[in-house]
Subunit: 117 residues, 2 copies
Amino acid sequence: MSNLELTVLEPEAVPCCPPITSAELSVEDAVRMAAMFKALSDPVRLRLFSKIASHPGGEACVCDIQDVGVSQPTVSHHLKKLREAGLLTSERRGTWVYYQVAPSVVAGMSALLDVNR
Amino acid sequence: MSNLELTVLEPEAVPCCPPITSAELSVEDAVRMAAMFKALSDPVRLRLFSKIASHPGGEACVCDIQDVGVSQPTVSHHLKKLREAGLLTSERRGTWVYYQVAPSVVAGMSALLDVNR
């Protein structure tokens, strides 16, 4: 047997939790998850999130997503909130900051609400 | 043929939307979905929702879910918000009101955030 087998990296841990129908949330998990849902509770913020998530290549520059009818500082404020809640990551490249969805965090929110599982 | 055939009710429509990675949310859908996420953005409200969702039989009486450290009127206020957002349904039976998760609505929120699909 070859000892050059590929190392399989563990997928990034899903932060939370079994489906909401299978177990009651702890106080700590409820605080954590409520903060994530709060990040999506504003229509403009949710649209920005959706623009980034659906952007070709899975990332968007702030320059790509300004057409939501609010000022650029407001866009920046919303992106900061989404990043602080863990739903986005960001990376500066040259002049621009690029935003990506944090897939394991968002998948964890989806799994919590997966009542058909 | 009998004209006493059962009327098959359409299953409740899944309210929204393809996964957030596949298409940008419209303004209208963003308003609608943000209101649903807002309903889960409070830790106590999220715990009440989780208690109902995970309760045996898939429903809970308000008498079953009072142990969240807030007053009964506050519990009622939170349940009203969850119902108004479409995440819960309720039914009075005798003395008590019983709450159930609205499965298609919650599944729609889950599907929206299903970034692995």
